[in-house]
């Protein structure tokens, strides 16, 4: 615990702003704490997006989940990378509820499990994570790209990750972030066929899917973290 805290303090002072070729389990933990903070801070924006297409609570659920996840991550002394992602997933799954609780939970849980006992994360690990995460979400909810859900952002992220296994982690993560954001942007033009927005039909055009906005924010924050 003391060692971890010292490491964290050092990271906060300096390493945080430097590019990282691989991430240690603890760095993954810090990255997910940064993601948690960003999501918590985005509550209003996410709820507002959901007010347009759903029931207006997406930000509230995400905030609830990532507040709990942050607490769980703070208490964690991780030995594997997968452990950090799985803890995040389990916590989101157990505290959020709603559609996003299930999909965000599965995203991190499945992704984390796929990393086995790897003790660092590199571009190839990132691709493994993304592929399993996408598979978990589509198996659970049945949404395909084009249905105007977070799957569009996730699939964008996954494709980018698969194409970036030869790159440095910062470059791969930047590609993943861009892929997620492009996927999110693409949802604006789509007609929803899944989730609460599906009955809106053509009225759903013009607004991004709230879950996709969350995915885009998560990977943008990750990319900023790895530098």
């Amino acid at each position: 615990m003391v060692a971890a805290d010292l490491r964290a303090a050092a990271t906060n002072q300096k390493l945080y702003y430097m590019s990282k070729e691989t991430l240690s389990p603890n760095e993954v933990r810090e990255m997910l704490i940064a993601i948690s903070d960003k999501i918590i801070e985005s509550e209003e924006l996410l709820s507002e997006a959901d007010r347009r297409l759903g029931d207006g609570d997406h930000g509230l659920g995400m905030k609830r989940g990532f507040t709990a996840a942050k607490a769980a991550l703070k208490a964690l002394e991780p030995t594997t990378v997968g452990q950090v992602f799985s803890t995040t997933g389990m916590t989101l799954m157990g505290t959020m509820g709603g559609a996003s609780g299930a999909v965000m939970g599965i995203l991190y849980q499945n992704g984390g499990t796929a990393l086995g006992d790897a003790d660092s994360l590199d571009a190839s690990g990132l691709s493994t994570f993304m592929t399993a995460a996408l598979e978990g979400v589509t198996n659970l909810g049945g949404a395909k790209p084009g249905d105007k859900t977070m799957v569009d952002a996730l699939a964008g992220a996954q494709e980018a990750a698969a194409a970036s296994t030869g790159l440095s982690l910062p470059d791969a993560m930047k590609a993943v972030s861009d892929g997620a954001t492009a996927g999110m942007e693409a949802t604006k033009a789509m007609i929803a066929t899944m989730g609460r927005a599906k009955t809106l039909g053509e009225k759903s055009i013009g607004h991004p899917d709230p879950g996709a906005v969350s995915v885009s924010i998560m990977f943008q924050t990750a990319s900023a973290y790895v530098g």
Partner: protein
Amino acid sequence: MKKILNDPNDAAAELVDGLVDYYNGKVTKVGPGAIALTDIASDKVALLVGGGTGHEPIYHGLIGEGMADGAACGDIFAAPPPNIILEATRAVNKGKGVLYLYGNYAGDVMNFKIAAQLAAAEGIKVETVLIWDDVASAQPSTKEDRRGIAGLIPIVKIAGAAADKAKDLDELVSLVTSARDNTRSVGVALSPGSIPATGKPTFELDDDSIGIGMGIHGEQGVGIEKMMPADDLAEKLLNLILADDLILESGDDVLVLINSLGSTTMMECLIVLKKVKALLVDKGIKIYDVMLGPLVTCQEMAGLSISLTKVDDTLKPLWDAPCSSLGYTKL
């Protein structure tokens, strides 16, 4: 928007505690968000309902004698997470398996699905019947895309009676499926409720407009129209149900539910009932029983829905059985 709350973020948790207090010993809390009847007959097939809070008295106000055995409660407007559903499942299971009965919303479907997998891994037999009674939300050919709205009241009531007499989970599934397949609903929205944590309205609607077939969270329905007299509205809504694929003929018996979405008064519900009854009588359709009032709500949303359940000789005795719960009690 004034609401009688403490910390709005605690609203769901506090209301579940209040619900346990309401039941005054008959209901026990299991973990953070599950409740179950304190005494469940040792050899019965169990009935579990659940969903987001904020729609009281459903879902968790439907547990009781002759009703559901337990409920998994989520946060406000959020399906319960799998672990809460799993805890509720364990609490109600008496070895004969558990029927999950809930409204067809993506969040509920996914969370209950994960819970069912976890329960199966523990050796608990679980089956699911989804409630999809809202005819305004999809064509009859894609019924599995329809939302669950107020029709869940007669369906859960019948399911509660069925769970008391079914010899096994399969029989319960078949009785409840029959109740579900014979139920159709459609609603109209007049004005939104507000989200407790933000005070913001759940959707928007012009001052003179109403949303025919709109869902209880503001989900799109058949269309936005200008406000109209009660009789016209009642006829328009009823016709949406009668035009659907459930065949209702002269001589058939139906249960009628006029549900207030929150702030719509019983006065308005009764005026609509009067017209609905006259129209049904005209067609020779017989009213077997009537339910009326705020049963499936969305905070102080205004509007109402009409539900019909066609009852045959199998469903009638299940309807007739007494039951007791916060949401619906029958002598």
